[in-house]
């Protein structure tokens, strides 16, 4: 018997993901993504990972979705409200989607992970997260910092207006 909350979250998450992809207006798509991510955060809560859930909401809903919404705003409307897709490709995409769903799902279902009573282990301590990060994962954390710094530098470099730069870059 499945938990109704779980079912609700699943429907919400997957549904809003589909909505995010298939609505005509891109802005609704961004909002759909945000909702879907909230759904994921809900799952995290279900899995006794409130810290991750909070982080998820902060980063994804707070940053990513907003970022996307800004980007959508920057782009002219005509690009936003015309949904152009090819019939053949859509059919192929759906078939591929189903195959992946079936293939991966079946693989998992027949595997040893599909056992009853899987969540018997006690939930982990949130404090341990910090500990782990600062001890075992400390180099990773440093590198993560570099990743973020790099992303900032890269994004800035990309986003900078070219007005100040005069030279032709590449004649092709």
């Amino acid at each position: 018997m499945v938990d109704p909350i779980f079912v609700g979250l699943a429907v919400l998450t997957v549904g809003s993901a589909i909505v995010a992809l298939d609505t005509k207006e891109l802005i609704y798509g961004a909002i759909g993504l945000a909702i879907s991510m909230l759904g994921i955060a809900g799952f995290f809560l279900l899995l006794d990972a409130p810290f991750v859930a909070m982080f998820q909401i902060a980063v994804y809903v707070g940053a990513v979705a907003v970022l996307i919404i800004f980007a959508v705003m920057l782009v002219r409307t005509q690009a936003l409200f015309t949904v152009r897709e090819d019939k053949g490709r859509k059919a192929a995409g759906i078939i591929l989607m189903l195959f992946i769903m079936g293939g991966l799902g079946a693989t998992l279902l027949i595997s040893g992970l599909n056992t009853p009573g899987s969540f018997t282990a006690p939930p982990v301590d949130i404090m341990a997260i910090g500990q782990e990060m600062l001890t075992y994962y400390s180099p990773t954390l440093i590198v993560m910092g570099l990743v973020l710094a790099g992303a900032v530098i890269a994004a800035l470099a990309l986003a900078r207006r070219e007005d100040v730069e005069q030279k032709d870059e590449r004649a092709s």
């Binding site: 195959f99 293939g103 991966l104 693989t107």
Partner: protein
């Protein structure tokens, strides 16, 4: 007795001198033209003199055998072997060659390529001497190919292929094949056809070497284990026959006879050399060289080999004699006659091996070789003199030259009589008679057919000889002679430098002829001793009683008769001109025979269709439909395939990210499937 190089230097010099002369001739030619000519002749003389020093050795029945190390890897030695056989032969070759060289001084006077001429003449002589004097098959083969090469170069001497140097009747085709030939073509033909023989000879040599590990005649004789081993595998006779194949090629025996006729494109002096002293005699000499060896092995059933030799000779003799009957060209008549006479020699050497008395046949064959060398050289040089004067190779363009060229006429007549076998005073008579006798006395079961063929050939020989003499020297002046006289050419006797050499030979043949029976006796004795000492072959008691002058009565009668019949017919048609030879054209049968003979039994036709045109057609087919399409197609086909596949890959690379991603997604599934497999 194996002697040191320097102790036998005179033997070595016999073949080294001509080669050395050939080598320095081009250098001398830079300096003085006339010095070149005389030095060339001088080298021939020196070689001859060197050969002459050996005559006492031969008469004493001794031999000189000298070896130096050569191919150490295979334990082969170079050597010379001057036994009586070789000594007689080498003298014959040397002196006749020398005379021909002298003759060339006049005949070739003024030719601009004389350097080349002298070079190859000397090379020719040297190669022939190498064949004669070598003590092993490998060196013989060096000389063998040397004469082939020299003949190739000399037959095609006038390489510009001017019309006047052609042989054959222009425009005449037999079975679609042109029966006239340019000099260079003739040279090539000679080389390739003799090459076919050489290949067989090589095969024979190789077989023997594979078993014996040596090529040396002496060594082969000394230890006959190889022969037993070969006989055990039934290879001895094939090896011998293959060796004989070389002789067939070189001596223009059937079926490799066709090249000899085209070889007339060369200068006549060259023809004389080829026919009298070198080249074609090489084949006979080879058989004379290896014959005793195989006869000594006749316990191993080598008789078949000799049968092959005898029959080949007989067939060739007959074949070429018939063709000589109808040829309009003087040199070609002589050429046919050479082939035919060589057939006699082969027949004699062959019959010797299947007879009780090896020495008889052997002597007969070799005697005929000697007498033929003399009279044929003389005849050729005479014919050259005629050609020189008349500027035409056709006997129909001659006629009535007797009064213009009396010396030439006289000497040619003498030599021709010898060829025809005029009884008792010509060498040709004695040698031919000896062959008849050898055949008759052989005790060979098929001796009679051979004998009859030999007699028929003798009849024809006499006939065509008289035909030649008659057409050339008798009768009225031909239109051609009138024409050239009209043009201001004076038809005259040739200079002494030309007529003296062939005069000497013509006289020599008569001298030998007059003393023929003594000469034959002497030769017989010499060979008896030689064969006995070297090979252990001894004469059995004569099977038949000999009569007057030690002649076999039946054979002698046949000789007389054959000459009589042939000469009479020739006289009637061509000298007395009592009957018109044109009559044969009016009868369908005779005309058919005439055409058949005139077209050389269609052998040339068959040769070209089977040996040139046919294979070339096949090659062309392969060239067109295999090499040019399939093989040449591999590369483009491969390129095409690659291009096609490349286009396909490029086509899949659409540039649309979605497609890429689709492939990526599908790829995951594929990998999962592959893993699950």
């Amino acid at each position: 007795m194996v002697t040191e190089f320097f102790d036998a230097i005179n033997v070595w010099l016999i073949w080294i001198l001509p080669f050395a002369g050939a080598a320095i001739i081009p250098a001398i030619a830079k300096g003085s033209k006339s010095a070149r000519n005389y030095i060339a002749v001088g080298f021939a003389l020196a070689s001859a003199a060197s050969a002459a020093t050996l005559i006492p050795t031969a008469l004493a029945g001794h031999e000189v055998h000298s070896q130096v190390s050569w191919i150490s890897a295979l334990d082969l030695k170079a050597g010379v072997l001057a036994d009586p056989l070789a000594i007689i032969m080498t003298n014959l070759v040397a002196w006749i060659s020398f005379l021909i060289m002298v003759y060339s001084l006049g005949y070739m006077h003024g030719d601009r390529d004389l350097t080349r001429y002298w070079f190859f003449m000397l090379f020719f002589i040297g190669s022939m001497q190498l064949i004669v004097i070598s003590d092993n098959l490998l060196m013989v083969f060096f000389g063998w190919e040397g004469v082939g090469l020299a003949s190739y170069a000399l037959i095609g001497f006038w390489y510009h292929d001017r019309k006047k140097d052609y042989v054959g009747v222009e425009g005449h085709r037999a079975g679609g094949i042109a029966m006239w030939t340019a000099p260079t073509h003739a040279g090539m033909k000679a080389f390739l056809m003799t090459k076919a023989g050489d290949v067989m000879m090589l095969a024979g040599m190789f077989l023997i070497f594979a078993y014996a590990g040596t090529f040396g005649f002496k060594e082969l004789l000394a230890d006959q284990g190889w022969a037993q081993a070969m006989a055990a595998e039934n290879l001895l006779v094939p090896a011998a026959v293959l060796l004989f194949g070389g002789a067939v090629g070189k001596s223009a025996q059937f079926p490799l006879n066709e090249w000899l006729l085209e070889a007339m494109t060369g200068p006549t002096s060259v023809s004389a050399l080829i026919h009298a002293a070198t080249m074609v005699k090489a084949g006979v000499f080879l058989v004379a060289r290896i014959g005793p060896l195989f006869f000594a092995l006749s316990a191993l059933n080598t008789g078949q080999f000799f049968e092959v030799v005898a029959w080949t000779g007989a067939i060739t003799a007959f074949l070429l004699a018939t063709q000589a009957l109808v040829s309009p060209e003087i040199k070609k008549v002589l050429a046919y006659s050479t082939g035919s006479q060589i057939g006699y020699m082969m027949m004699a050497l062959g019959i010797a091996g299947i007879s009780l008395n090896y020495v008889d046949g052997y002597t007969a064959g070799f005697f005929h070789l000697m007498s033929h060398a003399m009279f044929k050289a003389s005849l050729f040089m005479g014919a050259g003199a005629v050609l020189h004067t008349v500027h035409s190779r056709f006997m129909t363009d001659m006629g009535g030259l007797k009064k213009y060229m009396p010396k030439t006429y006289m000497f040619m007549l003498l030599a021709a009589l010898s060829l025809a076998g005029a009884p008792l005073f010509t060498s040709g008579f004695w040698s031919k008679d000896a062959i008849f006798a050898a055949v008759l006395e052989s005790g060979y079961s098929q001796a009679m057919p051979l004998f009859i063929m030999a007699v028929v050939v003798a009849v024809m020989t006499a006939f065509y000889t008289f035909r030649m003499i008659g057409m050339t020297f008798f009768g009225g002046k031909s239109k051609h002679v009138e024409k050239i006289e009209h043009e201001g050419h004076h038809v005259h006797e040739v200079g002494a430098v030309m007529w003296v050499p062939f005069g000497i030979l013509a006289v020599a043949t008569i001298i030998v002829g007059v003393s023929g029976f003594l000469f034959e006796e002497q030769l017989h004795h010499l060979f008896e001793e030689y064969l006995g000492e070297s090979f252990g072959i001894h004469e059995a008691a004569p099977a038949t009683e000999r009569v007057f002058l030690n002649l076999n009565p039946v054979a002698a009668a046949a000789s007389f008769g054959a000459f009589g019949v042939g000469a009479a017919l020739g006289y009637v048609f061509y000298i007395a001109r009592k009957a018109d030879p044109a009559a044969i054209g009016r009868n369908i049968v005779t005309r058919g025979i005439w055409t058949f003979l005139y077209n050389r039994w269609y052998l040339n036709t068959a040769l070209y269709w089977g040996g040139v045109i046919g294979p070339m057609a096949i090659y062309r087919f392969i060239w067109r439909y295999f090499e040019s399409t399939i093989i040449d197609g591999i590369n483009p086909a491969f390129q095409g395939a690659m291009t096609y596949m490349s286009r396909w890959v490029k086509g899949s690379q659409t540039g649309i990210t979605q497609t890429y991603l689709f492939v990526f997604g599908a790829g995951i599934l594929i990998v999962v499937m592959l893993l699950l497999l």
